[in-house]
């Protein structure tokens, strides 16, 4: 695999996907960029906010480990991850995950991988809050199955 680089960071304020894409484009314009933006679902109005608790050191390390692993597995030149922490509202971006590569296939696969890993292994604790109360979220069977794909 080619030597690659990455950026992985936590964003306590509003995540601006277009800004992150511009940063990645400037750092790496060599064929293809694939990006994914995850948004908070409102679950039919039931969710008023999502709270993302995180560890001050280990969460950042988990994002970096996932980015490094993607670089080692796929023929991509750069990986870029930004994840929200704190309070996020419905419809707001919660994660930006992207990869740059000479050819599109590797970039698509890398981003698919990034999201499956982030969904399972990123160190966050999420709580949905709404009019009917609040609940902590744990990975679903589908999340475990997605993680096993790799």
């Amino acid at each position: 695999m080619a030597e690659g680089s990455f950026f992985a960071g936590l964003e306590p304020d509003r995540l601006r996907p277009e800004r992150q894409l511009a940063i990645l484009s400037e750092a790496s314009c060599n064929g293809a960029i694939v990006s994914f933006v995850g948004m908070v679902r409102d679950e039919g109005g039931a969710v008023e906010r999502l709270i993302l608790d995180h560890h001050p050191v280990l969460t950042q390390q988990s994002l970096e480990a996932i980015a490094r692993e993607a670089l080692s597995r796929f023929d991509v030149s750069r990986v870029h991850i930004v994840h929200r922490c704190g309070t996020v509202g419905p419809g707001e971006p919660i994660v930006f995950a992207a990869a740059a590569a000479l050819h599109r296939r590797a970039a698509f696969e890398a981003v698919d991988y990034l999201m499956d890993r982030l969904k399972m292994d990123a160190i966050f604790w999420k709580r949905e809050e709404g009019a009917t109360g609040s609940q902590w979220i744990e990975p679903t069977d589908a999340d475990y199955a997605d993680r096993e794909r790799w």
Binding site: G38, H54, H55, V57, L118, A122, F124, W125, E138, P139
Partner: protein, 80 residues
Amino acid sequence: MKIRFYGRLSELIGREIDLDAAESISVGDLFQRLAQAHADAASALLNPRVRAVVADEIVPRDFILDPGEDLEILPIVSGG
């Protein structure tokens, strides 16, 4: 000894508690002690996928904590 909790455990027990520990204690024994003191958090606390962290490193249940050594307890992560 300060013990810091995250996620569901921080809601059940509090973000941080101070525990009197005059002698060294294993992480596993400390978990049992906490589970007895916080019955409503016992099942969440004693799940084997809950991780113990000392100085930003994950440690096993047989890790011996010295008096005054701080611990962080991480419940099952939600993922991103």
